[in-house]
Symmetry: C2
Subunit: 292 residues, 2 copies
DNA sequence: CCATCTGATACCTTCAGAGTATTGGTTAAG
DNA sequence: CTTAACCAATACTCTGAAGGTATCAGATGG
């Protein structure tokens, strides 16, 4: 049995006339009759009652007709969908992003993408920049928003936004009244920052800032999450430099101040150049348009 | 495209090795490779990334694999089910019964049938005996429980039970204290009975009873439903002869009395001899066993 | 550089399935 | 009752899709 046989059966079940059914299938009646007989023989079931004048469905044939219709519909859908998946109109996109981007560029990007690709299931994964790099490399992610990595020839990157760093401190901190902060203001501060193992680009931007000011920074705590950094600053355990987009969500006990010659990080969308997932390209296109 | 092609695709998708996949399908590698290439060509989609050393699924291929599995499963189920329907193990049975049988033989019969044929959907239709005859004739019913009809060569009938008629009257009726009723007790009674057009067998049994006693009965009301007959007797509009199985559901305001030489009706299960529905035979078998 | 593994190609072969001609059974009109 | 028309089944032929064999060509590891 095969789907072709189902089409033969359905044609006869719907016309109840061998000649017309054969014509529908662009063939002649004798081979068509043979095929119907073969189908009944292979299934071991009589599907039609017939004499040389009338053709009717048996109860088994009626039931089979219903089943054939659903099977054929699903079969056709599968053949149609595989084309849609190949064209990127349907499928799955595993999309990574770092927490720093969750409140700025990611919602816009996800929103616009799911508008033009409603049949692509977005699997969102919030991870650290280092995890994102690894997952992109081994193919566990199709695309991700992260800080611009260093040299990475296997990735295509599109610039999305620039993020200046700002200093955050408790409202009762000595510097809380200053208009602007410089490296020298920070030389005796207890600093909180993510470790290189979590966000190398961010960490090295902070380190460079102090190096440029001739300061050797005093990192006292190195939590993995930005969230935790803000909590620890609020507890009075130190101060931190964080991306400006995160400053809007601080409560009143904390203040953020701009930095003189503030270090700037590039937030980029990146995907493996060799990505086999056709759903990626539309995402890159959106990002490319937005960045213009 | 055809289900065979799906099987080819699935074999390769699951082994990721042309030679082994071909062996699974009991064929050699070269024609198998050709078939895979043809599938990709017909779909217009690359399903596998491959070189002479490694075979992997593309995202479109992964998606197609899922779809193929469900399509093939449904396809196989359809071919399996059509056999079940043909054998009577699955399908639909349109089962008619008259109200007189609803409280006696029908529940038992339906119960036992659905135990041994759980996959046959029973469509129950309560109708009058005349409607049942018509529906059996035109094929709107597969089987029915009714009073034994007269000569009906197109029906196979199996005896299920005998029903004696009893007389019902209000508790304040003059005959309410008698132990047994004869035709002569009824000669001046206002009688209520279903018309011949609704239940010919029942009506003629009643008529014969009076004829045998030399009485010409006085039918004053002829409602279609037994239910209505009982209601009307309770209202004091007359008396009636009804099957004994209905007497158990009378309330206290009514009494039923046995009849001398009570007329007896045969309750039978009947189905068209030429019934094409294979689900019928098991029902007939059950009925045949019970009647022994 | 060679042995080996593996998918692709070239060429041959076979049988499933389509076509043509015809038969046989059923129905309806004359 | 006969006949014409219709329709499914059968007999036979033929074509091409699909499988087999032999071989090639690219990749990998020693």
């Amino acid at each position: 049995m095969d789907t072709r046989h189902m089409h033969y059966f359905m044609a006869l079940a719907e016309t109840l006339h061998f000649g017309r059914a054969a014509k529908l299938l662009h063939m002649t009646q004798p081979p068509f009759s043979r095929q119907i007989a073969l189908i009944e023989q292979k299934l071991g079931v009589k599907l039609f009652e017939r004499n040389s004048r009338h053709v009717t469905l048996t109860p088994a044939g009626k039931h089979f007709l219903d089943d054939c219709r659903t099977v054929i519909a699903q079969f056709d859908a599968a053949c149609r969908d595989v084309r849609l998946v190949a064209s990127g109109m349907k499928g799955e996109l595993r999309f990574g992003f770092m927490m720093h981007a969750a409140h700025s560029v990611v919602p816009r990007l996800v929103q616009r993408y799911s508008e033009i690709r409603p049949d692509v299931r977005l699997v969102l994964e919030e991870r650290t920049p280092t995890e994102i790099d690894d997952m992109l490399m081994v193919g566990k992610l199709d695309a991700a928003v992260t800080f611009a990595p260093g040299y990475s020839p296997h990735l295509r990157t599109i610039h999305l936004a620039k993020e200046k760093l700002r200093m955050i401190m408790r409202a009762d901190h000595a510097c809380a009244n200053k208009r602007m902060i410089g490296p020298d203001d920070l030389c005796h501060e207890r600093l909180i920052a993510t470790p290189t193992s979590v966000a190398p680009t961010l960490r090295s931007a902070i380190a460079s800032y102090f190096a440029a000011g001739g300061i050797s920074p005093n990192f006292v705590l190195e939590p993995r999450l930005q969230h935790t950094i803000i909590k620890l600053v609020a507890e009075g355990l130190g101060v931190a430099l964080i991306p400006e987009s995160l400053c809007s969500m601080l409560d009143e006990s904390l203040v953020s101040k701009p930095l003189r010659t503030a270090p700037t990080l590039d937030v980029v969308l990146c995907a493996p150049i060799t990505s086999a997932n056709p759903a990626v390209s539309a995402l890159m296109d959106i990002a490319a348009q937005s960045s213009c």
